[in-house]
Amino acid sequence: MTVVEESTNAVPTPDNNLNDQKPAGFGRMLRKEDPRFVRGMGQYCDDVELPGMLHLAILRSPYAHARIVSIDKTAAEAHPKVKAVITGEDLAASNLAWMPTLSNDVQAVLATDKVRFQHQEVAFVVAEDRYSARDALELIDVEYDPLPAVIDVRKALAPDAPIIRDDLDGKTNNHCFEWEAGDKAATDAVFADADAAEDGIVVTEDIVYPRVHPAPMETCGCVADVERVSGKLTLWCTTQAPHAHRTVYALVAGLPEHKIRIIAPDIGGGFGNKVPIYPGYVCAIVASLVIGKPVKWMEDRTENLVSTGFARDYVMRGEIAATRDGKIRAIRTEVLADHGAFNGTAAPVKYPAGFFGVFTGSYDLEAAYAHMDAVYTNKAPGGVAYACSFRITEAVYLVERMVDVLAHDLDMDPAELRLKNFIQPDQFPYESKTGWIYDSGDYEPAMRKAMAMAGYDELRREQAEKRERGELMGIGISFFTEAVGAGPRKDMDILGLGMADGCELRVHPTGKAVVRLSVKTQGQGHETTFAQIIAEEIGIPPEDIDVVHGDTDNTPFGLGTYGSRSTPVSGAAAALVARKVRDKAQIIASGMLEASVADIEYEAGAFRVKGDPEKSVTIQDIAMKAHGAGDLPDGLEGGLEAQICYNPENLTYPFGAYICVVDIDPGTAEVTVRRFIAVDDCGTQINPMIIEGQVHGGLADGVGMALMEMIAFDEDGNCVSGTLMDYLIPTAMEVPDWETGHTVTPSPHHPIGAKGIGESATVGSPPAIVNAVIDALKPYGVRHADMPLTPSRVWETMQGNHTPPI
């Protein structure tokens, strides 16, 4: 059942601050973590200072592709403050020069034979301070023999392309992997039919999702400390997945897992950038092992942009087969995926293209098929990052851009076209033509609500008037469905680790509690949201619940926070562990109230005897009884705590309707985002303020990707986006006041009906903005243009000179 609620854009007043309530469960409340953040009291990796700590700096390759002839480190070693200079050859002696990636490829920790992308790690220096470490890098003399580089992904599979991964046995080309989804024969048949039929139409467009970067405010880094007597490694690290990292270190480095403790302190933004294990972490661990002192490595801004997990980089050909009255019959796509020099994608093993398979979008089709070739290029590795829900960003962009291409060719209103093709409410659970089981959805109310908030018909009238005057105004729509909350262990794992999440809840004698999570916040507000989930289930106020996370010695195992999985997976674990505690509390209450367990009912923190509401005890009374003196019901242990490991039954499928209004200066081609309306449905809402915050951030991300962000390379493979002067991220000046609303369609399989929201706006907003720009350019006969839609690219498109960005 879908609930359509009023918009929540009410402005708080001193008398009515909507965000400063104190709910006993779900609802608006200020974030518990914010007092320390707004006072500058957060504790980040770079705040960790240990006695005798040394500093590590990494020497990186100036070439995109070159053989290493020799490395002379004698001058660097002679620097008075340098403690060690380590090269790939040194690591190879301990079999540590290469490490596995999260996608079962290997990646060089330090290059031994050759460098494969510009800024690849070549050597590191450990020194008494970070200045000396950096200075000593310039004393290392590396002789390179430059090789031709593969930069244009379209040329990677050419017969004469230089072979990048000659480290892999028998590798004779740059092919990384092949992937397909859907039914090729059935899809081809529908296309042939639509092509031949009088009332049929087939549209095709080449669409690039350029390489972008999450660019979190805090760069990546760590402090490694190997305790000399016990041999225990403590690693303070900027990781979104501390438990997964610990197990990987244990499997790879041969360190016993109980002698590894990963602590992820406060994280200044992750967005997927802090999922992979980077060479720098391994270098710091090796340095601490070798030298016997704690070692800190914090990358600088440039290192973060040029070497760590990028995102997207898909070159796609999209095709839709439809009828001329606007019924979409099939979607087909061919994708060339640029994975850089090593396949560092972080995705469930059976999903090398992530969840790109949901490219069928929110529409009921006859058939669908995707084929992908992933290739190696001389660029930094990565692939899944930047709040993309495992490649759903690319999938949604493809389908929502293609639907607009179809609307263009049919001269049909894009809202009407979408409404005509939605999966209908009675079709859920809906199995898509690529095999995804959409759990729940009711699309039309969300679409209608967004159109009502936007004043859609009035906007179209305004646009028509402006076109008469030669003014350029565009209205863009996207309607997205995501698949988030990886994932069911029956078919999802990363390096053999199932994607379930643990949770532990302990209620103290005075009725306060501590809940321990396996996931790790990077700004999402877990310390508040998870306290609210527990509060909703057992009635302990959120402020009385301590949320512990990010420390492998103090939290249960689980795979971490990315792909919008915290609430769908770990949130379910939190609700269920609280119900376990509640069940025990009910038994204790039955003893206290001298009634049978079946006669006890629970409501908002109180346990009552049915039909006798005067007889009740609170969860706080029960906590004291559980730990106190006197008898408990027969067979019951003392204490009030529980633990759980939650294996999700399915993914959750949040959705949303976004409408963007842009104005374009016809003389300069500058795009202004005038309005943005976002109606999201993430099922049951836990804290609407936090949800709005997530949506606001994701929408700003979308403005960045649509209009300005791109990791670009010159023809020699030099990355030309290595500073925030060159790699632009949007500011408050480029974004409008967001207009948010929501509908509520609970997930049927999630204990509280919640779906993930963390990436919805990042996924859904770029196509809305691009569609708006293309709509504005309709008088110029424009049907498609690629991101980023900088003034220059828009102007060139207006001249009929659009060229893809790579």
Binding site: M710, T790, P791, S792, E796, N801
Partner: protein, 291 residues
């Protein structure tokens, strides 16, 4: 954290002290004022000066905007923020406020200086184009005295100026003419970005005709200080859209931009024209009281 190469640092206590230090330390010494161009370059190790001479204590000598007779004198240490906020300056030379509104962000504007901007001589730097348009001159001091050079002579090319070893830019002087005004237009990919292209225009009216007009362009190629054919085309002409278009075309013809991530050469050339037209239109409207 990006860290610069080692350097030595001294705080000057007077302009004379700063110049004496510059003379003694030679070409490896750099003056630092706001530091918003120099320090990022040092952190990226694109600049590796051996000595930094900090002049931030010299506000009393170098931080001022004075209207004296028929010229404005602006101290080299005057911050962007002061150029933005000065009502006196905006009244006679509104182009400064136009430009400062789109230069960087408040953090940079609080520290960055006029002198630093001109001496950095980045080809995408806004204030050079502004000073070109308004016909400014620069006061350069050394131990042997002062010399005054026009913007045309001040600019030697990208990142190169007339300021030699042991010398220091101390003041910028801008003539104030009656019946005159000015304007600045810039296209940037995002607030705070360097210009994709920009143009500043200054005009002096004589009745219904333009007695004198100048245009300064930014980020569309070298040596675009005071494009003389533009001034020649404007002189004695009655303002009209046809005139602006003609002059805009001259600006485009004189532009020789290079393609980069900010834009294609064709787009930047187009902007040289478009922004010249907009700046002239605005400057004339202001000068004739129609704005």
């Amino acid at each position: 954290m990006q860290v610069p190469a080692p350097f030595e640092y001294e705080r000057a206590t007077s302009v004379d002290h700063a110049i004496a230090l510059m003379e003694r330390l030679g070409s490896e010494a750099r003056i630092v004022a706001g530091g918003h161009s120099l320090l990022p370059m040092m952190k990226l190790r694109l600049a590796t000066p051996e000595y930094l001479i900090d002049i931030n204590d010299l506000s009393a000598e170098l931080e001022y905007i004075r209207i004296e007779g028929d010229e404005v004198r602006i101290g080299a240490l005057t911050r962007h923020r002061q150029l933005l906020e000065s009502d006196e300056l905006a009244a006679v030379l509104p182009i400064f406020r136009d430009a400062e509104k789109v230069i960087a962000d408040p953090i940079v504007r609080n520290r960055g200086t006029l002198g630093g901007s001109l001496c950095q001589a980045d080809p995408s730097e806004d204030l050079s184009a502004v000073c070109d348009a308004v016909g400014a001159s620069c006061v350069i001091r050394s131990t042997t005295g002062e010399r005054v050079v026009s913007m045309h002579d001040f600019h030697r090319g990208p990142y190169e100026t007339a300021v030699g070893d042991g010398e220091m830019l101390t003041e910028v002087r801008v003539p104030i003419r009656p019946n005159s005004s000015s304007a600045y237009h810039k296209v940037e990919r995002r607030a705070g970005d360097w210009a994709v292209a920009s143009a500043g225009a200054a005009v002096t009216m004589d009745g219904d005709v333009i007695a004198d007009g100048r245009v300064g362009l930014c980020a569309v190629g070298p040596n675009l200080t005071n494009v003389e054919p533009i001034s020649a085309a404007l002189r004695g002409q009655a303002p009209s859209e046809e005139l602006y278009a003609r002059v805009g075309q001259i600006a485009a013809d004189n532009a020789s931009p290079s393609a980069d991530t900010r834009g294609t050469a064709a787009y930047k050339t187009h902007l040289a024209k478009e922004l010249t037209i907009r700046s002239l239109r605005k400057a004339v409207a202001r000068a004739t009281g129609q704005d």
